[in-house]
């Protein structure tokens, strides 16, 4: 069965995430990251950040709420039960700090079939309250048995 590719190029409306100190701390603790710039506002300011700064991979926390609606969009026809997260990329610009409001939009870049598997690629673009680029993500989701 050929994969449905109508959703390629589709964009979803932005989802806004409010970055907070306790959430950054929780993420850093789960990863065992102990740099004080993630925990202590004075240390973060001394290092030149506006406030407690998130580790780069905190990008998944503020950008994944934008990916959910894209994956679950009936037009995409992605079989969620047979999906694995096969690849991920991020490019970072302005650091994400506590107090930031980050808006992420998602877009479907491609849907392709390879070796009986469906490869669904989505892009996210995250921008802060000042309009500065924070991160761009590429999410590759693989669906078995298409």
């Amino acid at each position: 069965m050929a994969l449905k590719t109508d959703a390629v190029g589709k964009e979803w409306p932005g989802s806004t995430y409010q970055v907070g100190r306790e959430k950054i701390k929780e993420y850093a603790n789960a990863l065992g990251i102990d740099n004080p710039v993630h925990f202590d506002v004075e240390a973060a300011r001394a290092a030149g950040f506006r406030d407690v700064v998130a580790p780069p991979m905190f990008a998944v926390v503020y950008s994944s709420p934008a990916v959910g609606p894209a994956i679950l969009d009936p037009e995409v026809e992605l079989n969620f039960a047979a999906m694995v997260h096969g690849g991920q990329a991020f490019e970072w610009d302005e650091p994400a700090c506590s107090g930031d409001e980050i808006t992420t939009t998602a877009k479907c870049l491609s849907i392709e079939e390879k070796d009986g598997k469906g490869f669904y690629v989505f892009e996210t673009n995250s921008v802060n309250q000042d309009g500065a680029q924070v991160a761009r993500g590429t999410w590759t989701l693989i669906v078995r048995g298409v």
């Binding site: 994944s64 694995v84 997260h85 990329a89 970072w92």
Partner: protein, 129 residues
């Protein structure tokens, strides 16, 4: 460290405890039951509850950031392939080698393995030092 081409970055070894997937689920917001419910995971054919792939990617980011003393501005780009399934209570080893260096820009090839299983393959990190 000089970080010349071909040089290894310091190895990162982490053994996620039994409850790590629960803490990562809370931190990340990803509560997929295959990560936090051992019974559910077995029911869908997995050996047990498995680690989040993005947690393993987070360890790869951490190992690379460590090269820049943990400076969160240093990591400019990271792309990975998630392959094998990671499980709690078994050591993960993250290793990396400098692929190229152009002034203060360094590209590092990184892998994360657990026993014989490659969790993260073909990871490429770009750092600005």
């Amino acid at each position: 460290m000089a970080l010349n081409e071909g040089e290894a970055i310091p190895e990162l070894r982490v053994t996620p405890d039994k409850y790590l997937p629960h803490r990562y689920a809370g931190a990340s917001g990803d509560f997929n039951p295959i990560h936090i419910d051992d019974e559910f995971a077995k029911m869908v054919g997995l050996p047990r509850n498995i680690l989040h792939g993005l947690y393993s990617m987070g360890l790869v980011a951490k190992a690379n950031a460590a090269v820049a003393d943990g400076n969160p501005r240093a990591l400019k780009r990271l792309s990975v392939q998630m392959r094998g399934m990671g499980v709690p209570e078994q050591e993960i080893v993250v290793t990396g080698t400098v692929k190229s260096r152009d002034g203060n820009r360094v590209v590092v090839d990184t892998v994360a393995t657990q026993g014989e299983t490659a969790l993260i393959k073909n990871a490429e990190a770009e750092l600005e030092l």
